[in-house]
């Protein structure tokens, strides 16, 4: 019996060589691209004797570059040697580096209808490109590097049917925070985004939404291929792919309609994004110590443009540290050329090297006990950015920038840009 498939079921079926695959099935699939990150090399890496395919392998130096510790400094040369020994051309070393999900996007490594695996939990970001992209642990990515295959237990899919037009003041982060607040965790569920409203969500915002599927514990987050995405890919020379559309008779765990025109900017309170949000218009004016715009979710060029437009001609409030981390060296250079970095630095922001740094509290911008941070990164978990006694609020780059100027959490719509 043949029944319709969701986007993710279609990709997994195809890559498993099956006519059909559905929620509940366990399938063994070919992986199109395996991406390793610097951390994988920093802890007594053992080089494999052989690998599946150097052209289906990429290495991105991102989490701890330039090396902040001796441990990381030891990993770098191992990565370089491995890349050289195995002829891995997609090696994004310091200087052409960036946060892996940004580098994956910029270099067209995530292709519609294909499977991408990477040693970082936010690999679901690639779902914005109709890719079955997932973060997998270091041991499993190592295994894929060697064998070119892995397995998935297919989870049921929830479809978000987007209708209406997104207001200009509502970003991908706000849409995600709304969904996380409204529907809570999506553990052992795939998320699928489509519908007529999708056309009003630009690619950068789609990537923010796909990236943050990890925070609500989802498996895959996948967007359909529409004209906007097809044009975006064509501009980057990504061709010859086979898009995975959902069948009209696909089976969903739930179909949820979101009228984008009714949404407003959101803030998530500290601890989790799940059922923990509040419209920014209703949040208490909490005083902040640090504000952060960056990460794979919101360090994109458009995020820096928005931040610069709010900060231009203004000053960061006394007592507030504003950190800006472009998501990649490419974003850094583009933002410099466009004058955004000048505007940001003139306003008193610290523009950092492109790395994961502050986002995971590893280096650069760690927060101390009792401090309050508002971040546009991915996680507001306790202890994520440093002390477990710090509070981390999460919001869009616009809200973070406006709050940095005000010195307390505030609605960016009150600040003319």
């Amino acid at each position: 019996m043949s029944t319709g498939m969701t986007m993710i079921e279609k990709i997994l079926a195809r890559k498993a060589g099956l006519a059909q695959a559905h929620a509940g099935d366990t399938v063994t699939v070919d992986v199109d691209m395996a991406v390793l990150i610097d951390l994988q090399f920093a802890t007594m890496w053992i080089p494999p004797t052989r690998i599946h395919d150097p052209d289906k392998t990429a290495i991105v130096m991102d989490h701890a570059v330039p090396a902040p510790t001796l441990k990381d400094a030891t990993g770098g040369p191992l990565a370089r040697t491995f890349a050289a020994d195995f002829g891995i051309k997609k090696f994004y070393d310091v200087g052409r580096h960036g946060i892996c999900h940004q580098v994956i996007a910029e270099n067209g490594l995530a292709r519609p209808g294909e499977i991408l695996a990477c040693t970082d939990s936010h690999t679901c970001a690639g779902g914005a490109f109709n890719t079955a992209a997932r973060g997998l642990g270091p041991a499993e990515v190592y295994s894929i590097l060697c064998t070119g295959t892995t397995w998935f237990q297919i989870a049921p899919t929830v479809r978000y049917e987007l209708v209406g037009t997104r207001p200009d003041t509502v970003s991908g982060k706000d849409i995600f925070l709304h969904i996380a607040h409204q529907y809570g965790d999506a553990t052992n569920q795939n998320l699928e985004y489509g519908g007529p409203g999708l056309a009003s969500i630009p690619l950068n915002d789609r990537r923010t939404i796909a990236t943050q599927g990890a925070e609500i514990s989802a498996d895959f987050s996948t967007f359909g291929v529409d004209d906007l995405l097809a044009d975006h890919l064509a501009e980057r020379g990504v061709t010859g792919y086979q898009a995975a559309d959902a069948d009209p008779d696909a089976t969903y765990l739930d179909v949820r309609t979101i009228d984008l025109s009714t949404l407003q900017p959101y803030v998530a309170r500290p601890g989790t994004v799940s059922r923990n949000g509040v419209p920014v218009s209703q949040i208490e004016p909490r005083r902040i110590d640090q504000a952060f715009i960056g990460s794979c979710a919101n360090g994109q060029l458009e995020d820096l443009r928005i931040a610069a437009s709010i900060l231009r001609g203004r000053q960061v409030a006394p007592g507030v540290r504003l950190l800006i981390t472009p998501a990649s060296q490419q974003v850094y250079r583009d933002a410099m050329r466009a004058g955004y970095l000048q505007d940001l630095a003139d306003a008193g922001a610290v523009v950092t090297n492109s790395t994961c740094g502050a986002c995971f509290g590893y280096h650069m911008g760690v927060v101390g006990p009792g401090e309050v941070c508002i971040t546009s990164s991915t996680r507001n978990f306790s202890g994520r950015m440093g002390s477990t006694e710090a509070e981390i609020y999460m919001a869009s780059p616009a809200t973070v920038a406006a709050s940095a100027v005000a010195g307390f959490i505030t609605d960016p719509r009150n600040v003319n840009s």
Partner: protein, 187 residues
């Protein structure tokens, strides 16, 4: 071959325990043996002193939401023999399987077990018992492919047997600490 039945003392934790609570960023700068001392550091201080080899961790819903960092390696280091949760984050579950750490989903696990109870888990059969309270139950057994990875002690020894890693490493790769080190870490 790892024996896929486990009997041990249980420790019961709550819902939505995330990977930052089990493997904080500052611990990622340390060796696995040191890093393991930080597991649940904020939620239950001192726990890593109390847990002993063979114990079982029981958690609630959405266990392991967060990062790909190899938390399972820290549980291996502490000698934790198995994980039980009402619901696992799938990445966290896979990391456990790939590290050779068996994991069983039991709805209502946090009601059925209390700290220091003795649990018996039979993974191939998908059965569990609380030997302290005398309750037993059955869950959907793990897929054969997953049982096979667990029986081999995780994914790395298997790669060594297949010649992707120096074959003489196969046995040592079953050692939890080295296993974590060989694959490096992720977030």
């Amino acid at each position: 071959m790892t024996d896929l039945t486990v009997t041990g003392r249980v420790w019961v934790f709550g819902d939505s325990l995330n990977t930052d609570a089990m493997y904080p960023a500052h611990a990622m700068k340390l060796d696995v043996s040191e890093a393991a001392k930080h597991v649940f550091h904020a939620v239950r201080p001192g726990w890593t002193e109390q847990v002993s080899p063979g114990d079982i961790v029981v958690a609630g819903k959405n266990f392991g939401v967060g990062s790909s960092r190899p938390v399972a390696a820290l549980f291996n280091q502490l000698g934790v023999a198995a994980l039980v949760a009402e619901e696992f984050n799938s990445l966290f579950f896979r990391n456990a399987v790939n590290a050779g750490l068996p994991a069983m989903t039991i709805p209502d696990a946090t009601q059925l077990f209390h700290d220091k109870d003795t649990a018996g888990l039979d993974f191939p059969a998908g059965t569990w018992s609380n030997q302290t309270t005398g309750t037993t139950g059955q869950v959907q057994p793990l897929a054969p492919l997953i049982l096979e990875i667990l029986a081999g002690g995780g994914v790395l020894p298997r790669l060594a047997e297949q010649g992707f890693l120096p074959p003489e490493l196969a046995d040592t790769l079953r050692s939890p600490a080295l296993q974590a080190q060989a694959a490096g870490s992720g977030t």
